[in-house]
């Protein structure tokens, strides 16, 4: 796990901190026009409190960007089958990217805890975007790949002692 955010020492210039921050920003290189083009491929979804956007072990083919409200990320606890909250995600967070990429069932349930809004990019919309605006898809894929690479590096680091 990365705790650098808790210990962001004012004068410390550790490379890792900057690298991690950068890696986690999605679609940062998009210009304003591109953003509007990109969002035109998405679908605005409205969620009520307790409504699930994606469900653990069920298929999902979309990436979601939270635009307002907040969601809990739930996974079944190791002991009981009950779903346990592992994270809270808010405005600006992105979820669903794993099953979007690999087509496997969701690794967690994401449930709205307040009335919320999210932008959904379906796999089909992504395909359409790939054909119509290939550079947008390129940026998106590159960012997702960067995220995975970042996570993998961190895992490697955790294995190194």
């Amino acid at each position: 796990m990365d705790f650098s955010a808790f210990f962001n020492y004012p004068n410390a210039k550790e490379e890792n901190v900057e690298e991690s921050e950068q890696s986690l920003y999605f679609l940062q290189s998009l210009q304003e026009d591109d953003w509007q083009k990109f969002l035109a491929f998405t679908q605005i979804r409205i969620f009520e409190k307790s409504e699930k956007a994606i469900v653990y072990k069920e298929p999902n083919q979309s990436i979601f960007i939270v635009s307002s409200g907040s969601f809990d990320v739930l996974i079944p606890s190791r002991q009981s089958k009950e779903m346990q909250k592992v994270a809270e995600i808010k405005e600006g967070s992105v979820f669903g990217e794993l099953s979007f990429l690999d087509g496997l069932p969701c690794s967690a349930t994401v449930m709205a805890t307040t009335p919320s809004k999210a932008f959904e990019l379906t796999k089909q919309a992504f395909e359409i975007m790939t054909s119509q605006e290939p550079h947008l898809s390129n940026v998106l894929m590159y960012d997702l790949a960067r995220l995975l690479s970042y996570r993998l590096r961190r895992t490697t680091k955790m294995l190194m002692l």
Binding site: F3, Y9, P10, N11, W35, I44, K85, G92, S93
Partner: protein, 887 residues
């Protein structure tokens, strides 16, 4: 940042106490140590009492409630930071080894000092004095050489492990006053972020570092119990004391590891529990001892209830602490994973977009209760397809009956239904609040259920009591033409016996949707078009998997393949058409398929699975070929190639320029397109592995790897049975405008019928022909007028619509083309004698319905030419067309 609120680091904690107070307290605390040292030297009893009876018992409570206070005033810290303040420290960054083992040094010191109290430090003032001086010296040296607090306070100090355990969730957060500025000297610094430091250590990637801490906390209750329960030497020997103490500590550690192994809660939670137990044990044992000591020193007996109150307070605090610490850990874990998630740095563009679309209608779709903000004018079908909701589609003009939905709320917020759609809803027998999703364009908020709702109204035959000269209708073919005819006849003449002979083994289904059967969940029942309350059941028999062999016009009977005869008063031939298979060498090899019927798709699907197919070649770039090509391209495992004979795709529907947009869109989806070429030969031993493609001049050839070849080259009407019984045929069965063949009792409709010299071959025209034929059979003189064919390509992401005549037929015909290469839109009108006779729309569906209506109604456009040429086709809408487009 939310982290700052939840887990403020010391720089984010508000400064409440001014620095001079800390300066002052620091001096006082240092003087206290000097005083204790003085007493230890001069008056050992008082010194020992002050140190062990006042100072030490107060420390854990201070760590527990406000550890920051101690961190700021600790005399060892003052000594440690002295060299920094005098600017004489060397500021060496601690090495890796030192960082790793400093905690081990700290707990070793604890294990050396605490048991030694029992026979030395608690009684011998000189040794205690030396110990204090030694510790102060170590703290000073650490500060002299190492950077920040890394030489003592944040590394080796034996008080630090206690602070980290008891003080991991301070009741009062106190701002660190020493580290100005913070130099980031240690990882996961306790001074920097006391709430997180210990957790970060336990959850940290360094398993050893976490292990040392878990080891210490697991031993702590044992250490406390041992300290207070094992008799002091000389009551027992020092050796026995150590043995007994170690045994108790070992049990404590063992219990911890047993608990972490067998109790299914996180080991960090057990660590917290051990922390709470430790502080309770400490005060449980020490309070009675203090009672005795204080009584002895001050000569007054403090009543028991005071100690009880003190103990209960500590116990209650520890329960609160336990809960707070547990919750904090959960929040910490949440925050850690939150930090991991992918984020958008600036949401401004997202919010801007959202603001622009705020007033758009919201569509709620049941049963999933999905709420979507949609663009006004979108049809429910388009919305649901984009969301991959389980909805069927067919003709997309409200006639085939594939997509009925129920509008639970906001019916008035949809474009009103057309006459055709109303007829379809009536035919399907669905309730009044139903709509065909493809036609229901959204104007305002709507709640829609995917579940069709059946009407409770009993269908009443429209011509009850009327006399008909026939009671026995036979229909060959259970496709759209045959089934529509059966419906119409039954509606007017419910007592007529209707026999439908279906060659395929499935009930009436949506042929336009067969490519869907390739999808993972699809089943033939998903594309069934039989209305749920198929009311004609008692009088209509549908024979499936039955081939009509011969028509005996004299005996008025049809021989079917199992040597039975079905007699008729009236016969409708609706045998449809089959795939046209061009001459391809070796086309009978396994892996070559046509794609026309549900069974074809079922076979294809089976073959794909059995032979793990990846490379699909589709021969034919017409409508028939493109839709399966698109369907396959949606799955990453398939690579798809289309081989088209003509110079571009959709030769019948598009011109070269329009096809260019479609071509590049499909290529963008990853579909490989070869034009001016055809599949000549299939290569392979047992099954297809390659195909040979040659160009139009037969000069160049190319070999494509191929696991599956789909031949979608066109259709040919099934006229055999009509031809054999002597009916006049051309390409199709020749019929008059009532769809009647030269035999007055035999009609032909659908793909097999040639009317006015044309075979329409479209779903919508088949329905129209079925209606005309059945009305004529029932005695009504209606004539079939060729419909203006409107073709909508069912490929998501690009609108391709073609209608009527797409190229000028004479020099007098004119053409209007509005093209925007940047937006990839192309609109074309073909105008003849001041009437629009055909159109192509690519990349836009704006005005599609208006243009179609203008063609059908033969609107005179002579006065609007300027506007049409400018690209502003709104005029067609304003002209009062029956249907409005989703503009």
């Amino acid at each position: 940042m939310s982290l700052a609120k939840k887990f403020p680091n010391y720089m984010q904690v508000k400064k409440v106490i001014p620095d001079w107070v800390w300066h002052f307290s620091r001096v006082i605390s240092f003087l206290c140590v000097v005083a204790i040292c003085y007493f230890l030297y001069e008056k050992p009893k008082i010194g020992l009492f002050l140190f062990w009876g006042v100072f030490i018992p107060a420390l854990p409570l201070m760590f527990f409630i406000a550890p920051g206070v101690w961190r700021n005033i600790c005399p060892m810290a003052s000594v440690n930071q002295l060299s920094r303040e005098l600017k004489i420290n060397k500021g060496i960054a601690a090495g890796k080894r030192f960082k790793e083992y400093s905690y081990v040094i700290a707990i070793t010191l604890i294990y050396l000092i605490i048991p030694a109290r029992k026979y030395l430090f608690s009684y011998n003032a000189t040794s205690l004095l030396l110990l204090i001086i030694f510790m102060m010296l170590l703290a000073f040296i650490g500060g002299l050489f190492f950077k920040g607090k890394s030489g003592w306070c944040a590394s080796m100090c034996p008080l630090l492990p206690f602070q980290q355990i008891y003080g991991q969730t301070p009741f009062i957060n106190v701002r660190n006053y020493h580290c100005r500025p913070c130099v980031g000297c240690v990882e996961n610094c306790y001074d920097f972020n006391p709430n997180i430091s210990y957790l970060a250590m336990l959850y940290g990637s360094d398993k050893y570092s976490a292990g040392y801490r878990k080891f210490f906390v697991s031993s702590l209750p044992g250490l406390i119990i041992a300290f207070f329960t094992v008799p002091n030497p000389p009551l027992i020997s020092i050796m026995s004391m150590y043995t007994a103490a170690l045994s108790i500590i070992a049990i404590s550690i063992a219990v911890y590891f047993i608990l972490t192994t067998f109790v299914k809660i996180a080991d960090t939670n057990i660590a917290i529990l051990y922390g709470a137990i430790s502080i309770n044990l400490f005060y449980f044992f020490i309070l009675p001892l203090l009672d005795a000591q204080y009584s002895a020193v001050f000569g007054i007996n403090i009543p028991d209830f005071v100690y009880h109150i003190v103990y209960i307070t500590i116990f209650s605090l520890s329960v609160v602490w336990l809960v707070r610490t547990y919750r904090k850990e959960q929040a910490f874990l949440g925050a850690v994973s939150e930090e991991k998630s992918l984020r958008i740095k600036s949401m401004a563009p997202v919010h801007e977009f959202e603001k622009k679309h705020m007033s758009n209608p919201v569509v709620t779709i049941l049963p999933s209760n999905r709420r979507l903000v949609v663009n006004p004018g979108e049809s429910l079908l388009e919305i649901m397809e984009a969301e991959k909701l389980p909805v069927q589609s067919g003709c997309r003009v409200g006639m085939c009956g594939a997509d009925p939905v129920t509008i639970l709320e906001g019916y008035e917020n949809l474009d009103p239904p057309s006459e055709e759609e109303k007829a379809t809803l009536l035919r399907l027998g669905v309730s009044e609040r139903s709509r065909m999703a493809c036609c229901a364009r959204v104007k305002g908020p709507v709640t829609v259920s995917l579940q069709p709702e059946l009407s409770h109204k009993v269908r009443v035959a429209q011509a009850e009591g009327a006399q008909f000269n026939f009671n026995n209708l036979v229909i060959i073919g259970n496709g759209v033409a045959g089934m529509t005819a059966a419906y119409h006849v039954n509606t007017i003449h419910p007592n007529c016996k209707i026999t439908i002979i279906g060659r395929e083994s499935h009930h009436y289904y949506n042929r336009m949707a067969i490519a869907r059967l390739l999808e993972s969940h699809s089943h033939i029942s998903d594309i069934s078009l039989l209305p749920k309350n198929w009311a004609i059941a008692p009088y209509a028999e549908c024979w499936l998997n039955t081939i009509a062999m011969k028509i005996d016009r004299e005996k008025k009977s049809v021989e079917i393949g199992i040597h039975e005869y079905v007699s008729y008063d009236k016969l409708i031939i609706a045998t449809g058409s089959s795939s046209y298979i061009p001459p391809i060498e070796n086309k009978n090899l396994k892996g070559c398929f046509k794609l026309r019927e549900a069974d074809d798709v079922i076979q294809i699907r089976k073959y794909i699975q059995e032979h793990d197919c990846h490379r699909v070649v589709i021969s034919g770039g017409g409508l028939l070929g493109l839709e399966p090509a698109y369907e396959f391209s949606q799955y990453e495992r398939f690579s798809v190639s289309i081989v088209e004979r003509g110079p571009h795709l959709l030769m019948r529907q598009l011109d070269t320029r329009a096809a260019k947009y479609l071509h590049s869109y499909l290529e963008g989806l990853g579909i490989h397109i070869i034009v001016n070429a055809e599949v000549k030969k299939v290569i392979g031993k047992k099954r297809v592995v390659k195909v040979q493609v040659t160009d139009a001049n037969q000069q160049n050839e190319k070999i494509l790897n191929c696991d599956l070849l789909l031949i979608c080259a066109g259709i040919k009407p099934n006229i055999q049975i009509a031809k054999e019984c002597g009916l006049a045929v051309n390409r199709g069965v020749i019929v008059d405008s009532h769809m009647r063949t030269e035999d007055p009792d035999i009609y032909a409709i659908g793909d097999v019928a040639e009317v006015n010299g044309k075979i329409e071959g479209l779903w919508v025209s088949s329905m129209q022909q079925a209606k005309v034929a059945s009305q004529h059979i029932l005695g009504k003189e209606t004539a079939y007028a060729n419909v203006v064919p409107m073709t909508i390509l069912k490929i998501a992401g690009i609108d391709v619509i073609s209608m009527g005549v797409i190229e000028p037929r004479t020099d007098q015909d004119s053409v209007i083309i509005i093209e925007n290469e940047r937006e990839k839109t192309y609109r074309k009108l073909v105008i003849s004698n001041n009437k629009i006779i055909g159109a192509i729309l690519v990349g836009t569906k704006l005005y599609a319905d208006d243009v179609h209506a203008a063609i059908e109604n033969e609107i005179d456009v002579s006065a609007m030419m300027a506007l049409l040429r400018s690209g502003d086709w709104k005029i067609l809408t304003i002209k009062g067309m029956p249907k409005l487009s989703g503009s």
